[in-house]
């Protein structure tokens, strides 16, 4: 598209947000709805087209919400002189919402690291947020220095469709409900959870949260969520950080406690993988695990290269998986 034939799209959403932001920033005492609707083309066009006031109000509400999600907070206030007449509600944007980061100077090297951190999300759930963040940082005017980072391509993967909704819920501090299917169970259970954090451990996404029914912190593997994530209406107070820290500690203790012993076929792929670059070359090794079923899946991947010695539950689960696959394809 060349400069000459470019035309703005009619009542474009992003333009309306821009005009609204500029207009509100230019009015130290804010603007009321009447002024906004008449001043800004995106609304004025609707007024002139004879749209009813409710639909224009809805448009304004949606725009305010969009701005808030983008990080520009439109405040409303009622001037003391107006008594409680809602028509006199005025809207403004505090200029504090801008100028990030305050008094911070990023070095070119730091910007490159942030760039790499943003690129790790390429094609994964938070890629939009990461690339928008990067453009905001670039606006500070620093050029990145990528010289020390050549040849490195980190990629975060989010295979589970619930990831994005859960990250939103964490961001908004909203509790969520979903169906969760525990291994070995045909039917999923409904769970109601206050989400704290998403952790990726051994390549698996885990939601840590407060389970409202069991009244204790619980972990949920995203791959076992079998429904849409529903946002609950009530807003809850964010739980104290101690709860989360304790949940993380408990998880570490669990992993420390649960040990499996496996036998590796010498010189096999599993043998190289589990012995790693550590230089050791043992055929019987012990591994700590967090979830028996996940470990069984990982071990099944190595097929006959791995024989599970203990615990017996793991031996059974590995076998159960192969039996299921054999009968599914019989």
């Amino acid at each position: 598209m060349s400069v000459a034939n470019w035309k703005p799209q009619k009542s474009d959403f992003s333009e309306r947000l821009l005009h609204l932001t500029c207009a509100l920033l230019s009015a130290p005492y804010g603007l009321d709805k009447y002024e906004i609707y008449n001043a800004i083309k995106g609304y004025r066009d609707s007024l002139e087209a004879g749209d009813d006031s409710q639909s224009i109000d809805r448009k304004f509400e949606r725009d305010k919400k969009s701005l808030r999600e983008i990080g520009v907070l439109v405040e409303s206030y009622i001037p003391a002189s107006a008594m409680e007449n809602n028509l006199e509600t005025r809207y403004r944007i505090s200029s504090d919402a801008f100028l990030w980061p305050k008094d911070v100077v990023l070095s070119p090297r730091q910007l490159s690291l942030l760039k790499l951190a943003a690129q790790a999300w390429a094609h994964a759930s938070l890629s939009d947020d990461a690339s928008r963040a990067l453009n905001r940082l670039r606006a500070l005017g620093i050029s990145s220095d990528d010289s020390g980072l050549i040849g490195l391509v980190p990629r975060i993967r989010t295979h589970e469709p619930s990831f994005f909704a859960l990250s939103e819920a964490i961001d908004l501090g909203k509790s969520v409900s979903f169906s969760y299917r525990k291994p070995g169970q045909e039917v999923a259970e409904d769970r109601s959870v206050f989400p704290w954090s998403l952790q990726n451990i051994d390549g698996q996404w885990l939601l840590m949260g407060w389970d409202f029914v069991r009244e204790e912190p619980r972990n949920f593997l995203l791959k076992r969520i079998v429904s849409k994530i529903q946002f609950d209406d009530d807003e809850y107070e964010k739980p104290a950080p101690e709860h989360l820290e304790k949940a993380l500690r408990d998880l570490e203790e669990l992993v420390e406690k649960q040990i499996a012993t496996i036998r590796l076929k010498p010189e096999s792929e599993a043998w190289i993988h589990f012995n790693g670059g550590s230089g050791q070359s043992a055929s019987d090794i012990k591994i700590h695990y967090q979830d028996l079923y996940l470990l069984a899946e990982e071990l099944r991947d190595y097929g006959a290269d791995v024989t599970v010695l203990s615990p017996i539950e793991l031996v059974k689960e590995v076998r159960r998986g192969f039996e299921q696959v054999a009968s599914d394809h019989a």
């Binding site: 500029c22 100028l99 690291l113 961001d171 950080p241 192969f322 039996e323 599914d328």
Partner: protein
């Protein structure tokens, strides 16, 4: 590679504010090319954005229309940016909590990669991101790479020093070979490290999983390939080979990762609709048994029949059952 700066309205607005903020700080003469390069986008995105900014206006009663930007369009046509703005023109907004979380998670991920950034450097940045009103973000999303990284350190060094490497490599079928590789990019992809490089044995670009390598050594010979070749290879590998076999599979959420690379997965309505049917392509049916069986029932092959047979026989073999004379068995 320059690209379009935005794909939707939010992106577009975000980019407007970013360009506005950038030009507020760099009021001197800039060119479209400079701004495009700075933001790593195509020139059209910059021109389009500046023209949009130039139209930002508000009309209040009893006074002339307020214009918030004044950009010389004739100069813009020549690729030169003459930028003036009203005092109230918006600067770039704070990062949102979610944006900061995304960057913080990326930084956490980088912490697991050795030898290129110090922990202090990354911790400083994490602190900076948490500095605003979002004290909790450092724990909101956390990614810890699991894979053993000892080979990664050596390969990183070889890439930076532009040297070839040699190693013993065990492929998916368990065949071992000696390789000499011009290493190009090291990627930490979810759970595993991968090296993309020119393989002297295959005389082509190849992707290697680091946990299948051993006896890794950096050679004196200089690597002569460019990173560009990795990009070309990535483009090329999106085009399916003629010899690929299409296999119809059915997966429950536990096995979504089998298909998530090849198709977008929407959130399911309920447990029933969470089971998805999809077509995947495999180069060799013999690899399918392993691919499917690991999920222990969460992934099933629907068609073709030959593929079902391969998977069944693989599972039976893993159970130690005798399937002599069978097609799959005979190819071992």
């Amino acid at each position: 590679m320059p690209k379009k700066a935005f794909s939707n309205g939010e992106d577009r607005f975000n980019f407007m504010l970013a360009v506005s903020g950038y030009l507020l700080r760099n009021q001197g003469a800039s060119t479209v090319a400079e701004v495009a390069q700075h933001f790593d986008v195509d020139a059209d995105s910059v021109v389009q954005t500046l023209r949009t900014l130039n139209l930002a206006a508000a009309k209040f009663e009893n006074r002339p229309e307020d214009l918030f930007y004044d950009i010389d369009l004739d100069e813009l046509e020549r690729g030169v940016i003459q930028f003036n703005s009203a005092e109230s023109a918006p600067d770039v907004p704070h990062l949102t909590t979610k944006q900061a979380s995304a960057l913080a998670a990326g930084l956490h991920y980088l912490k697991g990669i050795p030898e290129f950034a110090t922990q202090d450097e990354l911790n400083d940045l994490l602190e900076l991101l948490g500095a605003g009103d979002s004290a909790q973000i450092s724990v909101a999303i956390d990614v810890k790479p699991a894979s053993d990284s000892s080979n990664a350190e050596l390969i990183r060094k070889a890439i930076i020093d532009n040297r070839q490497i040699s190693c013993e490599y065990l492929n998916q079928r368990g065949e071992s070979s000696e390789r000499t590789i011009d290493p190009l990019t090291l990627s930490l992809d979810g759970q595993f490290y991968y090296l993309a490089g020119w393989c002297h044995l295959a005389e082509d670009m190849r992707i290697f999983r680091l946990d299948r390598m051993r006896k890794l050594a950096i050679l004196d010979a200089v690597s002569s390939r460019s990173v560009k070749e990795v990009e070309d290879y990535a483009d090329r590998s999106y085009v399916a080979a003629n010899s690929d076999i299409e296999v119809v599979v059915e997966v429950t959420p536990e096995a979504y990762r089998l298909i998530s690379e090849t198709q977008a997965i929407a959130e399911p309505k309920d447990q029933q609709s969470a089971t998805i049917r999809a077509t995947i392509r495999v180069g060799n049916l013999q690899n399918l048994g392993r691919l499917i069986a690991k999920y222990g029932g969460a992934a099933r092959v629907i068609a073709p029949e030959a593929a079902r047979e391969v998977v069944k026989n693989y599972a039976l073999r893993m159970l130690g059952e005798d399937i002599q004379g069978d097609l799959a068995g005979s190819e071992e």
